[in-house]
């Protein structure tokens, strides 16, 4: 983990990213569902190669923030700047094309398709041949498909899954399915990867492996990663900046050391100590 430096707007980003603009900026982000304010005054800045953590008790609004960033919901107020571009009015498809990819809390794979096809679908927008060009098997089809096949196996090898390429995605064990979701998201060539509870259901050694893989992904692809997690070993282990959410509002932001010592965070997770 590198050192964190101050960025404008009272945010911290990794030192190695300090010369460049942040990859993601949320300014005053908020959403109301009818009378319920699910997220309010959400301000966050993430450096270009930062691994950031979003934590908080259940129901705090973490997945809602992910849904706002990926445009599953349109924000009621506030701005999202992705790589400097205002994502206002974009839908999920455009948001992904702009460079934001995600995994889901409940696995969403294309279960009837093969593992390789799941990854190839992530490569969809980088494959350049037309609908009818594909059906009529024009020359571009062959060259593009071959490259996609190679690229898909290459991506699967991050997790050592290339031998599973022909297996039906729905038949994979749980851990492999989670990893496949990450590979598929990576295939879309994002600038920031959102992981929603990637370690859910994993044992400690799998979690260790996941931590190494996430760091390696960040180093190899030069992208930022933001993850929602409940596993504190993972969060404190690889996250450089952490944002703590409770009841839809940020209660603390900082490095792992700062967060662990923050009384508001402790209170949110453990409750206030009773008066003696």
């Amino acid at each position: 983990m590198g050192n964190m430096v101050q960025f404008k707007r009272d945010a911290i980003i990794p030192e190695r990213d300090s010369g460049k603009p942040p990859i993601l900026e949320c300014i005053g982000l908020g959403i109301d569902f009818g009378g319920l304010t699910a997220v309010d005054d959400f301000n966050l800045t993430i450096g270009r190669t930062e691994i950031a953590g979003l934590i908080g008790p259940n129901g705090a609004g973490k997945t809602t923030v992910f849904n706002l960033l990926t445009k599953v919901y349109q924000p009621t107020r506030g701005t999202i700047l992705l790589n400097g571009i205002d994502t206002h009015g974009m839908n999920t498809v455009k948001a992904n094309q702009a460079g934001i990819a995600r995994t889901f809390q409940n696995i969403r794979l294309f279960s009837s398709l093969s593992v390789e096809d799941n990854v190839k679908i992530g490569l969809h927008n980088q494959m350049r041949y037309s609908f009818w060009g594909g059906i009529l098997r024009m020359p571009q089809y062959w060259s593009v498909e071959k490259r996609a096949h190679e690229k898909a196996l290459e991506l699967l090898s991050i997790f050592g899954m290339e031998d599973l390429a022909d297996s039906r995605a729905g038949s994979l064990p749980y851990g492999a399915q989670r990893r496949l979701e990450i590979v598929r998201a990576l295939a879309t060539d994002p600038v920031i990867l959102l992981l929603d509870e990637p370690a859910a259901g994993m044992n400690p050694s799998e979690t260790e492996e996941l931590m190494e893989n996430i760091t390696r992904i960040r180093d190899t692809f030069g992208i930022a990663v933001m993850l929602i997690e409940h596993d504190m070993n993972l969060v404190m282990g690889i996250c450089e900046g952490i944002c703590v959410l409770n009841y839809g509002k940020i209660i603390a932001k900082g490095t792992p050391a700062q967060i662990q010592a923050d009384p508001a965070v402790i209170e949110a997770y453990l409750g206030r100590q009773k008066e003696a």
Partner: protein, 293 residues
């Protein structure tokens, strides 16, 4: 006065559709399946009543009662044999099975009762009453139909809101597994739902054929389709939706037949349905169930 005549006729036809739609909507709400065979149960009810009255010379009310008993039994048997084993199956498989049951009923009827058109003797007689000093003639069957529909709606709403079985039905339509864990006998609840739906189909069949007396094995098919669209139109799973959808559909059908063209009345009915669903994709009174991401 012809506008009023058409309106009344539309409401009457709509009431029949509403009663049929109720059966569809209740079964869909609880078993999440489209009971394709529902329209053919209507036909069976009409035939039972027909034979009870014509061959056995029983009074019409007994004929209606016999139809209700027969259809209720039929509904329970079908559910037990064809649908219950497929509770966990994909919905397309259940739909095809329902289609199989529908074909079975139509062809069995053809074998048993032949496809010669039977003239159904109206259970309410053929009298009409005159209103507004003789300017408006309303057949008794129309009045009986509309009143029956209203009564059924009231009773059914009371049943689902206030009785234990009604609550069980509502619980099962929300979450079968949770209901089972709360000690509700889900199988029995579903069977009761089918029984009620089929009983309603019998009533609808008798009322339909009293107003439109030609009876053949395929009589139930088109009203079944239309009532199904009415249920969707009103919001599938919603009881007031079935009433609203049914009445509206009947009125639109009669009016478009009267004022535009009888040949195109079906097309207009379906076109209205499409337009409504485009504007309100869950039907008029349907609830949007948002998918959690």
């Amino acid at each position: 006065m012809s506008f009023l005549t058409y309106l009344i006729r539309g409401i009457s036809l709509g009431s029949v559709y509403a009663i049929i739609a109720l059966g569809y909507t209740m079964v869909y709400g609880i078993a999440k399946m489209l009971n394709f065979a529902h329209g053919d149960i209507i036909m069976v009810g009409a035939y039972v009543c027909f034979y009870a009255v014509s061959s056995f010379h029983l009074p019409p009310l007994v004929g209606v009662f016999a139809a209700i008993v027969a259809c209720t039994a039929l509904g329970i048997v079908i559910e037990r044999l064809a649908y219950r084993p497929l509770r966990q199956a994909p919905s397309l498989a259940v739909l095809i099975t329902a289609i199989g049951v529908s074909y079975f009923l139509q062809n069995a009827a053809q074998l048993l009762w032949s496809s010669n058109t039977k003239m159904f003797p109206s259970v309410t007689g053929n009298a009409s009453i005159k209103l507004f000093g003789g300017q408006l003639t309303v057949p008794v069957v129309t009045i009986v139909t509309v009143i029956s529909c209203m009564v059924i709606m009231v009773v059914l709403t009371w049943f689902t809101d206030k009785t234990k079985m009604g609550m069980a039905m509502r619980a099962c339509s929300e979450d079968k597994d949770a209901a089972r864990l709360m000690g509700i006998n889900v199988d029995r609840t579903i069977a009761v739902t089918f029984a009620i739906g089929s009983a309603l189909a019998a009533v609808a069949g008798v009322l339909l054929c009293s107003a439109y007396p030609t009876l053949v094995p395929t009589t139930g098919s088109m009203p079944g389709i239309k009532a199904f669209t009415a249920a969707v139109f009103g919001g599938i799973g919603s009881i007031p939706g079935a009433l609203l959808g049914g009445i509206l559909l009947g009125v639109i059908e009669i009016f478009s037949g009267a004022y535009v063209s009888t040949q195109l009345s079906n097309a207009i009915v379906f076109a209205v349905l499409i337009i409504v669903l485009l504007v309100k994709p869950d039907g008029l009174l349907g609830r949007r169930v948002t998918e959690k991401v």
